[in-house]
């Protein structure tokens, strides 16, 4: 029981830290585009209004960035302390992308960020504009490497396991970078950031309208943000579509859990809410074919044969092969010096079963099913809120041109109250991605319970509560500084 608590606390701490980190990242990604577009309009028109407008959003961007900075480093602390087996086992696969991210982010941020904030009166308009765009592009590039590392855990490619070093070694860098899961995840995450930035900027602008101040600034910000947000939402939908196909192919249990699909088949239905299903739609989403075969939870546990005749093993067969792999790994380690021939045989068995290595740690088939209720509802919250926010942005854009938005207080309230909703949608998306892949930390290769370090539960609990206290403090500080900056406003003469 104690050990099980260790796994759960380690998992909870990581989830909490990652979730906190993701409060700041999407706003950074979204506001970077919004402020860069505003500055582009300033450079193109020479209108000082746009300079002040972009400077205001830059200030908000800076506050969010300052509070969010380094929150991701805590995740790396946790790798070394709570997940040392995992950290060693993944080897340079995980280290290389994170190192590239760290170096790139540092240099891009140290140069372009400084020019963007310090250079208004010191460099030309065009140089400053380039710096602003590069700050946003740099943030997105940072995201690439993080998501490459994350996607490798969802769909491990481009590596080989070396039993001598007990590490995975990269054999194909481009397979790692061009991992299809990484590509769709990158676009899905970055464009969801555009949505967050847009809804945030629209909500704040509506607060000004409710306060009957900064009307020109608010309307201009709403128009730019709504366009960015609508483009972002459609891109999220397209990348989400390709992501669904990848999940169906590489992580079918996650898809089955997200749909609550117990028994699959051809023309699989999409569940809108429990009891309300649309026939064939899940097959279309998962395979782009209305007759496509989608396995359910029971099929995946019992084993099944695809329409093309491919036989997929049952949970018990996978567990058996996993145990064989671990046993062969142990034999190889024990015999590699004393009996090279026997070690070579063990190595061959290990190589034959390496794809099922992680299954060897699984004690029962039930462990292979993620928490279905949580994943199912998180998916619906993400998609439902995404659709509602798209509608809101469409209405805001239309009304800002065709109607007198400044007098429509109900719409202004709706936009202001939507700010938390976009964050809930983003967090729900990560719950689908990360809870949906449980029990794996690396799909098929390492479950969370084999990845954790043998540290005391009390130590993990202590740091968990320290983090809760620190995160709450910093969040409160950010909100206070943000509110102060927003109350002060963009200092634009609106007449």
């Amino acid at each position: 029981m104690v050990e099980s608590a260790l796994v759960n606390w380690s998992r909870l701490q990581f989830a909490m830290t990652a979730g906190y980190h993701w409060l700041f990242v999407p706003l950074t990604l979204g506001l970077a585009v919004i402020m860069a577009i505003m500055e582009t309009i300033y450079v193109a028109t020479g209108d000082e209004f746009w300079k002040k407008t972009s400077k205001f959003w830059m200030k908000i961007f800076g506050i969010n960035f300052a509070v969010g900075i380094a929150t991701g480093i805590i995740l790396e602390f946790e790798f070394g302390t709570n997940f040392s087996n995992y950290s060693w086992f993944v080897g340079d696969i995980f280290g290389a992308p994170l190192a590239i991210e760290g170096i790139l982010a540092f240099f891009m941020e140290a140069t372009f960020f400084a020019v963007m904030f310090f250079g208004w009166e010191k460099v030309s308009k065009r140089t400053h504009l380039v710096a602003t765009w590069m700050t946003g592009i740099g943030a997105a590039i940072s995201a690439i490497w993080i998501l490459v590392a994350n996607s490798w855990m969802q769909h491990p490619v481009g590596m080989e396991f070396n039993p001598d070093t007990v590490r995975h070694e990269m054999v194909d860098f481009w397979a790692l970078v061009l991992n299809p899961v990484a590509i769709s995840k990158f676009f899905h995450s970055v464009f969801s950031g555009w949505m967050t930035g847009a809804i945030f900027a629209i909500g704040v602008s509506c607060w000004y309208l409710l306060k009957k101040r900064e009307e020109r600034f608010a309307l201009a910000s709403i128009r730019v943000s709504a366009i960015v947000g609508i483009v972002g939402t459609f891109a999220v939908m397209f990348s989400g579509d390709s992501s669904a196909v990848h999940v169906a192919e590489y992580q079918p249990m996650k898809l089955a859990a997200a749909e609550g699909l117990e028994n699959g088949g051809e023309r699989a239905p999409f569940s809108i809410v429990p009891g309300v299903e649309v026939p064939g739609v899940l097959s279309v989403l998962a395979t782009h074919d209305i007759n496509g075969y989608v396995p359910g939870i029971n099929n995946l546990l019992d084993g099944y044969t695809t329409p093309s005749g491919e036989v997929m093993p049952s949970a018990e067969e996978k567990i058996e092969r996993g145990k064989r792999a671990i046993e062969a790994f142990g034999e190889y380690r024990a015999l590699s010096d004393s009996d090279p021939a026997a070690a070579a045989e063990a190595r061959a068995v290990l190589d034959d079963n390496i794809d099922y290595f992680g299954y060897g740690y699984i004690d029962s088939r039930e462990e292979l099913v993620p928490p279905v209720g949580l994943v199912y509802w998180a998916f619906r919250v993400m998609v439902g809120l995404g659709g509602a926010l798209l509608l809101l942005m469409g209405v805001m854009l239309w009304v800002s041109y065709k109607k007198h938005l400044a007098s429509m207080t109900w719409l202004q309230w709706a936009a202001l109250l939507s700010i938390p909703l976009v964050y809930i949608a983003g967090q729900a998306g990560w719950i689908v991605a990360e809870v949906g892949r449980q029990p794996w930390v690396i799909e098929g290769l390492l479950p969370v319970k084999a990845a954790v370090s043998s540290v005391s539960v009390a130590a993990v609990q202590t740091t968990f509560f320290i983090f809760v206290a620190i995160f709450t403090l910093f969040l409160a500080i950010e909100l206070r500084i943000l509110m102060k900056a927003i109350k002060k406003g963009p200092e634009i003469d609106n007449n």
Partner: protein, 71 residues
């Protein structure tokens, strides 16, 4: 070359000197870095494999993977 380096140096120095609202953000970043590295990292997050040689690390992880704790 020297002038260019000096210009870049002055750019940063003047930028930091002339900061208004950014000053409190830098204090916030500093406070956070101190908390993270000098408190959390130093006292609470000691990497389990730190201080071990390469061979010891391999031995430690392989033992954990071959003889996992039963849950």
């Amino acid at each position: 070359m020297k002038r260019a380096v000096l210009a870049v140096y002055n750019f940063y120095v003047e930028g930091f000197k002339n900061m208004t609202w950014g000053r409190q953000l830098w204090w916030l970043i500093l406070l956070k870095v101190v908390l993270l590295f000098l408190v959390l990292r130093a006292f609470f997050f000691k990497p389990v494999l730190a201080g071990k040689s390469e061979e010891q690390k391999i031995e430690h992880v392989s033992n954990e993977l071959i003889n996992p704790i039963k849950y």
